[in-house]
Symmetry: C2
Subunit: 436 residues, 2 copies
């Protein structure tokens, strides 16, 4: 192979300070430090600010290069040799204030803070535009999977008809364990916590908030519209029972927590819901803590991306990719926003619903439910009551499961209102959906 | 939802002419035409040149807008209102000359021509750089899967340790059919031809040349090095037999034609080979004509992308993405080339080999082969001779299959040299590999 001389390098030097030395901040520092050992790196680690002097990650950096350490935001903001701040503090109040100040001081910002971007992205991007600075947030959506970049720079976003996928690794890990090992939700969650896949307070992940923040950001990238998170219908995975997975398996389905955005003409459909997915569908086969994002284009057919959506280094690598983008002289590109949209009410969506019905056994229950469904002209697609299903003696609850033919959410709700009043129910009917 | 006014658009007008109105060229014309009906499109269809006036795709455009039609390259080159040429002529001689002339005339070029880029990419990119023009080729590798863009603009390519995947849809379709329907190669190929998945002369796809061209381009994007295609070890899929798939299935494997590039320090490993892949590995589950590319980063773990690698509109959508990139004022970014590499000789690679041995049955064959393997200190991992395996009477050939423990290719070759001399062989031993 021929020997090759060093080629010119047309990017400019980009000196970076990291604020917040938690899991992700430490990862960014490590990657930039490793890159620093190689030649020709436009992105340079130039500062670290961690307000908590007890943070154990600090000790490493005190040893490696004490001159990197900053002790106040003001020192960073007024240092003209720093061009970019990586915000890895997390949370909303302090981080929002920090990013605002950094942009106003004439520096660029790179962040992984999905909550903040989902709730205050519109405001912060406006500040960035006003000061001619950049605010990049690739790492805020599915970690190292480069979906933000692709939607910002690559796809003709007007051609995108659908974005969907598994946006949260913790809940996917729990769902995978529940299915494969027939665990209860509680045990799968505790196991995920023991292994470090779930936090002590797992609400953000298991109730779907995290996935919804990401969907808000994706919706912005595709439509130019910032939805408020609460506008997006949300259901988590806490209410799922082992029985749901057993039934899904017999229906040749898996259960996945899916973030979903669909555009049809002026209508937007958006939700985060646990869905039944036919096995063999690519997304059904994504197990463990892996994330996936699929983009359905008008012309490109479906493109899917799969990778780790979290973790110190995968998330940090996405932040570093944003830093490289800045170092390459990226020009802020305004969203080509020309359309107005109507967010369709959830009641208009059409699903194939599966009902898990837990009852005190007595004669006539199926007939009674069947009657209500028929009154609403909802057809039954499949029905199952296993003999002595999860019963140890006759007095235990009986669970049976009905899958309905596709119908509008509104129609199902009307029927459920009636069914849920029945005295034989031991708990309200639980609903699992499948895209029709 | 709030109503939103049209935001500023900071991209500049980019008037495009398409040369070659075949399957892909027609797709590009169609997409640009559709986009043209919407507001605010920076990329405009401004010309079509198809030298063959008998081309049936021309009729549509004569009807739609005759003013788009050009009749000579010179007219296009000298038209100052055209900024970019989309080359969808294919082939090497004419296309190479065309691209050179276009770049010299001060226009940018977008192409899907993988053969041309793999063989003459270095020369053509040098011409583009000399004239300060752009030569983009996203569509040349796996169609709508945006891997070229990601490697050029996004990933810190020095961090990439491995790129691998299924780069050819035709051969993957044939392999999937052979496996699922126990077809012979010939029948699966004919079926693919009937369905339009394979060309009348399928050599480029089934012998692996197409996948190898793509691997040459990926290697350049990651290392800055242009390998000659012939430097990359290549084996196609024509020699595979139904027996290979039956055995693979019993080993819980599938067979995929894999393009593979690995970098370890200064060493490069590169090949295109049919490989045994454990089921459950994401790449094993990619069936039909779908493509996939996986990128293994030092920090990002593995990211995989899946989508259609060919077809009129998917390929055209990648060309259009390049056009949009140009319209957004993309700056040519030289490869950050600082390293020298050594392309490791294939003999140094380590695989787990599976041998399909077709013999005239007689006593002592296993002992004889076992002895040769032992002399070379190659261990047997699994061995199988099914009773009356594919035999209709005693005189028919007997096939048995041996999977060896991982060893260097060189060692296997030495052993095979001996084994292939045995008089009981009805054909040379067939080898299938698996990454150890």
């Amino acid at each position: 192979m021929s020997s090759l001389s060093e080629s010119q390098h047309d990017s400019y030097l980009c000196r970076v300070a990291i604020v917040g030395l938690g899991t992700v901040g430490r990862g960014v520092a490590e990657i930039l430090w490793q890159h620093g050992k190689e030649n020709n790196n436009a992105v340079q680690l130039a500062g670290i600010l961690e307000r908590n002097q007890e943070n154990p990650n600090l000790a490493d950096w005190v040893q490696r290069d004490q001159s990197l350490l900053y002790y106040s935001i003001e020192d960073l903001l007024t240092d003209p040799t720093i061009q970019v701040i990586v915000e890895t503090v997390g949370g909303q109040t302090f981080a929002r204030e920090l990013i605002r100040k950094v942009l106003e001081s004439g520096k660029d910002v790179v962040t992984a803070n999905k909550d903040l971007m989902a709730v205050h992205g519109e405001e912060l991007l406006a500040i960035a535009e006003k000061y001619g600075r950049q605010l990049l947030f690739e790492a805020s959506v599915t970690g190292a999977i480069p979906v933000v970049r692709l939607l910002q720079d690559y796809f003709h976003v007007d051609d995108i008809e659908k974005v969907s996928g598994i946006f949260n690794g913790t809940s996917n890990y729990i769902l995978t364990e529940m299915e494969q090992k027939q665990l209860s939700f509680e045990i799968a969650l505790r196991q995920a916590q023991d292994l470090g896949f779930a936090e002590a307070d797992p609400t953000n992940d298991i109730a779907g908030y995290d996935a919804r923040y990401k969907l808000v950001i994706l919706t912005y990238l595709i439509t130019g519209i910032w939805l408020a998170p609460e506008q997006i219908t949300l259901e988590g995975i806490e209410h799922l029972e082992p029985e749901d997975f057993v039934y899904a398996s017999r229906m040749d389905r898996r259960i996945k927590l899916i973030g979903y955005l669909r555009r049809e003409a002026q209508n937007l459909q958006a939700f985060v819901l646990p869905l039944m997915i036919p096995r063999g569908d690519a997304v059904a086969e994504i197990g463990g803590s892996t994330n996936t994002v699929s983009i359905q284009g008008r012309f490109s057919e479906e493109i899917s991306m799969v990778g780790k959506g979290a973790g110190s280094l995968p998330t940090a690598s996405a932040l570093v990719a944003d830093l490289e983008k800045i170092s390459r002289g990226f020009r802020l590109y305004s969203h080509r926003l020309v359309k107005q949209y109507r967010l369709q009410p959830f009641e208009e969506y059409i699903f194939r619903h599966t009902l898990r019905i837990t009852v005190k056994d007595k004669p006539g229950i199926v007939a009674q439910i069947g009657k209500v469904l028929a009154e609403h002209e909802i057809n039954i697609y499949a029905l199952e009551q296993l003999p002595q299903y999860h019963q140890k003696n006759g007095s235990h609850p009986v669970i049976f499961t009905i899958t309905l033919e596709a119908c509008q959410e509104a129609l199902l709700r009307k029927a459920l209102e009636k069914i849920n009043k029945a005295d034989f129910l031991l708990q309200p009917v639980s609903v699992l959906r499948e895209i029709a």
